[in-house]
Amino acid sequence: SGAACARGLLSWARPERWLAAGGLFPLSCIHTSTSLQKIGRWEKKNRIVYPPQLPGEPRRPAEIYHCRREIKYSKDKMWYLAKLIKGMSIDQALAQLEFSDKKGAKVIKEVLLEAQEMAVRNHNVEFKSNLHIAESQTGRGRYVKRVRCHGKGMFGMMRISRCHYFVKLVEGPPPPPEPPKTGFEQAKEYVQQLRSRTLVHTL
């Protein structure tokens, strides 16, 4: 029973878990990185590792995900800038943002330059100009309510809005823009839709 007691007491100490897989240095139970702050989904997208490509496959273009959180700007106003640079090459996007008068343009420019640098350093991109913007989105950040003083002792509640900005750079030239749909195309589609109708829930 003494042996069983000792086993029970020491069951929490498992020697095989004291060392890491390499077997040289002991593991530390202290968190060294900032793991209390939640790592967002967009940041985790950079961590996916694909299996090595087979010799015959076409080369998979590099994808770089970058974002900035809690920018002091409105998400609706930021959306216009995100829509502007969607689908452009990175040089064209930087040029457009440099001469834009909006406050968010400066922030997005910084984010793009950071992402470009990350691409060249970590993601094995050869030419920093050979990138284009595949996705650029805005998200809602944390809103805070504050008192806004009016005259005659009146007050209203105002909202301090923040936003996030997400961007995905892909290696390669930007895809050609889609030609606008002609009327003939739309008519053909409509006729096709009418022709493909069948009877539903019948024998």
């Binding site: 829509k83 040029a95 001469f99």
Partner: protein
């Protein structure tokens, strides 16, 4: 107008009812002659808005086109009738006229290689010139020693290794301890 009502005794109940009706009619038509002097009518609680107490009972002969009532004095403000759905809002916010236009007047500056707009000076070159001007002005301030000491003669800026020529006879010379920049052409 006096009306004599002669009713036989077998119709006693009908006579009583008719008498009561007549009495009420008399009191209504001539209130000051018959019946009790009733206090003037009026609403006990003054409320603004559509008429809660019918006011026409007081003056039976009042015409409809008299003094304007409370209803004509109100100014109705415009207010939305229905909530605008998010689909309708999106159509308005994302209309092509509201989107930011792509600028087509961006070029490369031939001097420094930075981007510049066609009708605007290059920002980098302008900043360079501004900085050099600031240093020259500091030298001028050191020479003058205070405000309002500007001489009546012209000023010439000379860089390292430059001597004043015959043209710079009566002019004030400011010296800068650096090589002459390529964009500052010497006369």
């Amino acid at each position: 107008m006096a009306v004599l009502v002669l009713v036989r005794s077998p119709l006693l109940r009908l006579r009583a009812v008719l008498q009561r009706c007549w009495g009420r009619l008399e009191r209504g038509l001539w209130p000051d002659v018959f019946g009790v002097q009733s206090p003037p009518w009026g609403p006990a609680l003054a409320v603004q808005g559509p008429a809660l107490v019918p006011q026409g009972m007081d003056d039976a002969g009042r015409s409809s086109a008299g003094a304007p009532s409370l209803l004509e004095g109100i100014v109705w403000m415009a207010a939305p009738k229905q909530r605008r759905t998010i689909e309708v809002n999106r159509c308005r916010r994302r209309h092509p006229t509201k989107l930011i236009e792509v600028k087509r007047n961006i070029d490369v500056c031939p001097e420094c290689g930075n981007l510049k707009q066609k009708h605007i000076l290059c920002g980098y070159c302008y900043a360079k010139v501004k900085e050099e001007t600031r240093l020259i002005r500091m030298e001028i301030y050191k020479k003058e020693g205070g405000p309002f000491n500007a001489p009546a003669a012209e000023t010439v800026v000379l860089y390292e290794g430059e001597k004043p020529t015959e043209k710079d006879e009566g002019k004030r010379i400011i010296e800068r301890a650096r090589k002459r920049p390529s964009w500052f052409v010497q006369n």
